[in-house]
């Protein structure tokens, strides 16, 4: 029976739409191809996180060098802006187009690995054989709890010094050459600054984040990372101290909502006396706040554990890569000692390869501020740990920040606020 013309006409747009739509979800369940231990060949994609604008030449050269050494491989370099990187990754992952080699931090690699989208390097002999080239801390920093291994090649590390304004210290009668080293000294200095300035000068621009709880010596999670524990008495003690400080004016009035960018801006405007940062900031201070730069003090972030905080970057390999051997070879190439050290000479980050930090570049102060920060940071990195639990999602960070805010406002006791934050985060952890 012929189909009536009218019905056929009505069907056309629906059919076209249906085809368009089904195309959106064709990620498939392809588990990739190729043997990771075979000969590197094929076209692969490599995605970095906000590095093109400043390091285009470095990465173009790196890709060319790799392609020259591996004639059968072609690398397409992609770069994504800093903002919403996790959303970009999730869109790629959902569409089945996760790049073969992808720049991730442990908290980003965790959900990807959990969904089976990243290669377990410890279980892949072709990748595991390079484990000894990296420092144990860095390799361990990329290990994911409950997932039985490490899912990214360790790349660059960073740790932040704490900047302080010597002029504001002097005005408060504090010795600008003796900045606080631990949380007790920090609270004492902040109290003095608040009292002497009549509450006009705050010491810190933000509220305590999870790294602060870690550096204070609070146990953040249980051993198998299935439950948060930062509501233990030590955590409550830290929050109680912050509450006293907030009431005194030791924290910026907008500290409950300030983002790191905003606190950085307030430090630049000399509205707060101390702010965590990185060596990147020095250039910014020099250019935009020369008055502050002249009075700039640099010290380690306050610490009660003796182990500083470290930020870890890695390169994951997609488990669905069609050219796993090429992807593994390239990820290892980018993160090998020579290339990591070369990259760390271009920007204030630190290599995660064994022995690199013993190089005079990271041990001898050349007399410049940059050199001083570099050597101090490199020294801190030895024995540093990544305090941020890899299972801590953005939503859990918001939960903690909001519950901390309620305690500081006096709407909840510190104990109740942390209990609630832990309960909500545990619930989210179970759902994830």
């Amino acid at each position: 029976m012929p189909i009536p013309r009218r019905a056929a006409a009505a069907t056309v747009p629906l059919l076209v739409s249906a085809l368009t739509l089904t195309a959106c979800g064709s990620g498939g369940t392809d588990s990739g191809g190729g043997d990771a231990g075979g000969k590197p060949e094929g076209d692969i994609t490599f995605q970095t996180w906000n590095l093109r604008s400043n390091f285009k030449d470095y990465f173009t050269g790196l890709v060319a060098e790799f392609e020259k050494a591996n004639p059968g491989v072609r690398v397409k370099w992609l770069d994504q802006p800093a903002d919403n990187y996790a959303d970009k990754l999730s869109a790629d992952a959902a569409a089945g187009t996760l790049p073969d080699v992808v720049n991730v931090s442990p908290d980003l690699s965790y959900p990807l690995a959990k969904a089976g989208l990243l290669m377990n390097l410890d279980k892949e002999p072709a990748a595991a054989e390079f484990k000894g080239e990296y420092t144990p801390e860095a390799w361990q920093g990329n290990a994911l709890p409950g997932l039985g291994g490490s899912y990214s090649f360790p790349w660059y590390l960073n740790t932040g010094p704490l900047f302080y304004n010597k002029a504001l210290f002097r005005q408060a009668g504090l010795d600008p050459e003796k900045p606080p080293k631990n949380y007790g000294e920090l609270f004492a200095a902040a109290r003095t600054i608040a009292e002497r300035s009549g509450g006009r000068t705050a010491t810190l621009g933000g509220t305590p984040a999870v790294e602060d709880f870690g550096r204070y010596g609070v146990r953040l999670m249980n051993g198998d990372a299935t439950r948060f524990t930062y509501n233990e008495p030590k955590g409550v003690e830290l929050l109680t101290e912050y509450k006293k400080l907030y009431d005194l004016g030791g924290l910026d009035p907008q500290s409950l909502t300030n983002t790191p960018d905003k606190t950085g801006q307030k430090f630049l405007e000399q509205k707060v006396a101390m702010n965590p940062g990185s060596a990147h900031d020095l250039e910014n201070f020099k250019k935009n706040a020369p008055g502050l730069y002249r009075e700039l003090g640099i010290t380690d972030a306050p610490n009660n554990t003796g182990k500083p905080n470290m930020y870890v970057m890695g390169l994951g390999v997609s488990s669905r890569s069609k050219h796993k051997a090429a992807a593994v070879a390239f990820a290892r190439f980018v993160t090998d000692r020579k290339n990591q050290e070369a990259f760390a000479h271009k920007v204030a980050v630190f290599p995660s390869t064994k022995g690199s930090l013993d190089d005079p570049y990271w041990t001898k102060d050349d007399g410049t501020d940059e050199g001083r920060v570099r050597v101090a940071s490199a020294k801190m990195l030895k024995g540093a740990v990544n305090y941020t639990p890899v299972v801590l999602s953005e939503e859990m960070k918001t939960v903690l920040k909001n519950e901390v805010a309620k305690a500081l406002q006096g709407k909840k006791t510190p104990q109740r606020a942390l209990d609630d934050a832990v309960a909500q985060s545990d619930k989210l952890l179970k759902q994830g």
Binding site: P111, T259, K262, Q431
Partner: protein
């Protein structure tokens, strides 16, 4: 010609095809997907299983949801009267043919075309505890006020920004409506001794009532779905202790990122959709019942 006649039935559909395909791909399909996901425990990277009404039950016990619903509701109640009345008054002002009025029309419209992000950043600087507004207030012997630190001041500041940014847009809609009000009505009212206020209530308002209903409906939905102004002024946590979170901010917070709770976020989106639809229908119905037969 023969060819065209043969496909006469198909021709309208062919013309409609690009529009239909776009609407289907970018509106209908996402809507249906959202509808389905709302009843699952889907995460960003896992499709999830059917959980019935669990997401809606969770919502009822979610403190943040009630805070967000309160804020979005307050936004409608407090913003809409201003976005309905102020643009009408502005339109009446710039409707007059006086020298330089074109400049004012453009100036009032400028916030509409300005980027929300830039505008919110400027407002953020002005409302900072040591910003321009507090500086002026200090000179006058008042303040400082924690516009960006107090949950209520922050929400009211975001509302003021929304009203200010929307004035020009709704003003243009009113200008079009006012152009159709016969001059004779004003002249007759003036002859009868009506003053400016009386002319406004007896001539202008009845003449543009349908437009007011339209502006009311549009601004109600926009106010209920507010995101950027509050997000940019209050920060990603939704103000101090999250007390300025709006429903769309909650949708964004719970549903995005690699750990996004897509199922729960979709359920929240459905609530936003249902309430926005209800608001629009209520406003339009109110206009219909008031209109004389």
């Amino acid at each position: 010609m023969k060819h065209v006649r043969t496909h006469r039935a198909a021709s309208p559909w062919l013309f409609l095809l690009p529009g239909l395909a776009t609407v289907t791909a970018f509106s209908l399909y996402p809507f249906l997907t959202t509808l389905h996901k709302a009843f699952t425990d889907a995460l960003t990277l896992t499709p999830g299983a059917w959980v019935g009404l669990r997401n809606f039950r969770d919502m009822a016990h979610d403190e943040q949801f009630w805070v967000a619903l309160r804020n979005s509701g307050l936004y409608v109640v407090l913003v809409v009267p201003f976005t309905v009345l102020l643009p009408l008054l502005l339109a009446l002002l710039v409707q007059k043919r006086i020298p330089g009025v074109t400049f004012f029309r453009s100036a009032f419209y400028t916030p509409v075309v300005a980027s929300s992000v830039v505008v919110a950043l400027i407002w953020g600087w002005m409302l900072d505890d040591r910003g321009l507004v507090n500086g002026i207030l200090r000179v006058l012997g008042a303040g400082p006020f924690a516009f960006l630190g107090d949950e209520w001041l922050l929400l009211f500041s975001a509302m003021a920004l929304t009203v200010w940014k929307g004035l020009g847009y709704y003003m243009v809609i009113y200008l079009a409506a006012l152009a159709h009000v016969p001059r004779e009505l004003y002249e007759a009212a003036a002859v009868d001794g009506a003053g400016a206020l009386r002319r406004f209530t007896a001539v202008t308002v009845p003449a543009v009532r349908s437009t007011m209903a339209l502006v009311g409906a549009l601004s109600s939905v926009a106010a209920f779905k507010v995101f950027s102004e509050v997000f940019l002024l209050a920060g990603p946590t939704g103000g101090p202790a999250g007390q300025d979170t709006t429903l769309v901010m909650l949708v964004q917070r719970t549903g995005t990122g690699l750990n996004g709770r897509v199922g729960y976020s979709s359920a929240l989106s459905l609530v936003v959709f249902a309430v926005a639809l209800l608001l629009m229908l209520l406003v339009l119905r109110a206009d219909r019942t008031r209109r004389p037969e």
